[in-house]
Amino acid sequence: MKRQIPLLIVITLGLLFMAHAFIPHKISQDFYNQWYREWVKAVSPFAALLGIYSLINVHVRKIKRKAHNWQYSIATLLGIIVTAVAGFGWGSESGSPSSWIYENIMMPLCATIFALLAFYIASAAYKAFRARSIEATVLLAAAIIVMLGRVALGAAITHWIPDATKWILTVPNLAAKRGIALGVGLGMTATSLKIILGIERTYLGGGD
């Protein structure tokens, strides 16, 4: 029963949503508008609670066992507690403790981490971007053209550079991206069908 009931819920709802998507009948529209939309509002807070419980559980166990890098778990738990107290206690309006945390901790941390990317890209470009093969040479030439074509200098040298950039992005890049997207789409469809039909059951846990 522990596995059959969740499986039954997934199969039933999966088929109902397929019907809703492909059959524009009043019954299928009502199923969505009057039933699903209200249910999801009621269910989602429980999902959030489950997530918070799971996060706390994982980190508390890590601290208890003194697992590798357990000190970071203390920072995580403190972050959850302080932010939650600030949010529940004083709201998130401008000037509140929650807003202070956002502006003085969250923003600088996010900006710093993302800004490091420029240094790593420049270093990696210098150390690793070598024309070792024909493929690598093509990649290198394309990268240089696109990098120049995206800034004012490229257009200042010759209009061929922005034109070549446009061609690279709208022809070979587009073809490759579309091929990947089609592959991913087909994979998603196949996996979804396998889940709806009960063939794929690993989400139930324990492996099958």
């Binding site: 699903y36 939309r37 999801v40 269910v43 401008s94 996010c110 900006a111 993302f114 420049a122 240089i144």
Partner: protein, 312 residues
């Protein structure tokens, strides 16, 4: 160790110093560079501009990013909001990310400072943060009735009571959604709002994500894309050139005119992307130079080893 080997094994700290200088100096000493606009940006501009002064048209800005990507995405958000305020286009804001909620406030307040007559609930409304669990119900629900799907704005006001909602029911009226994100490109809006209700969808994304969007631009699923700082700089230019002067878009005029950014004619906050593009200009050239030096060193070193091999 030969000179080439030294070049190959250059301490990365020197590279970091050069990168830092290449970015800091153009920000400190602003110089003028010409910004040329591209079709994906012009398409968004023209569509928004076609809604100017219309009671029965609005756009939705779905802001879905953290502060980490704000330097790239915030200038484009400010540019679009400025365009809407200049031309009297109704604009809605929404986010499914709690960390983006203060960004919306910042974008609105930064732009609004220069527009004394703009009022919340009349010219714009912030739907605020909605939990990600309601992503699908809200996107699909807005296809029937926006006021019913969203219910209240960020200040807790019922949408039905707001003046801005007069003449706005669903995607037929709120006919453009622009999603700003560092990791997506309006995929949810394309899948549900575009395919099912025919809403126009556009994306404002980081430069690294821009290449992913071209198949969707070609298929028409995205009406346009603002790609990274360059996209923002292009939009800033269009607003300065046409919206501020209450002019219609003209490609000929765009090609020939370049508003100066190295004087005080334009407020700093309305040209941050173009100033940022100066830094990007220098940084790109620097990376290209690094790549070339690295490769020259690699080939010279390889030739030297080949010669040594032949000699021994």
């Amino acid at each position: 160790m030969s000179w080439f080997e030294k070049l190959q094994n250059l301490d990365r700290r020197y590279i970091y110093i050069v990168v830092a200088l290449c970015i800091i100096i153009p920000f400190t000493f602003t110089f003028h560079t010409n910004t040329y606009t591209t079709e994906p940006v012009e398409n968004i501009y023209q569509l928004i501009d076609s809604y100017a002064g219309r009671e029965d048209r609005a756009i939705l800005l779905s802001i879905e990013h953290d502060p980490s990507t704000s330097p790239e995405l915030q200038p484009m958000e400010i540019a679009i909001v400025r365009h809407c305020f200049e031309r009297g286009v109704k604009v809605f804001f929404l986010t499914f990310r709690i960390t983006a909620s203060p960004i919306i406030d910042y974008v609105i307040n930064t732009t609004k400072e220069e527009f004394a007559d703009i009022q919340s609930g009349v010219d714009y409304v912030n739907f605020g943060y909605k939990p990600a669990a309601l992503y699908l119900p809200i996107i699909l629900g807005m296809g029937d009735d926006i006021a019913e799907a969203v219910e209240t704005d960020s200040e807790g006001r019922k949408l039905n009571n707001l003046e801005i909602m007069k003449g706005i029911k669903n995607y037929n009226e709120m006919n453009l959604v622009v999603e700003f994100s560092g990791s997506s490109y309006g995929f949810g809006w394309i899948t549900y709002a575009r395919s099912r209700f025919g809403a126009n969808v556009a994306a404002g994304i980081t430069a690294v994500m821009a290449a992913d969007t071209y198949p969707y631009i070609q298929s028409g699923q995205l009406v346009g894309v603002l790609g990274g700082l360059k996209g923002a700089a292009e939009y800033e230019k269009l607003v300065d050139l046409f919206a501020v002067n209450q002019l219609e878009f003209s490609k000929e005029q765009e090609k020939q005119t370049f508003p100066r950014i190295n004087n005080d004619d334009i407020l700093y906050k309305f040209k941050t992307a173009r100033i940022g593009m100066n830094a990007q200009n220098v940084a790109h050239v620097m990376i290209i130079v690094f790549i070339l030096i690295g490769n020259i060193g690699y080939f010279l070193e390889r030739r030297r080893k080949n010669k040594q091999g032949e000699g021994s």
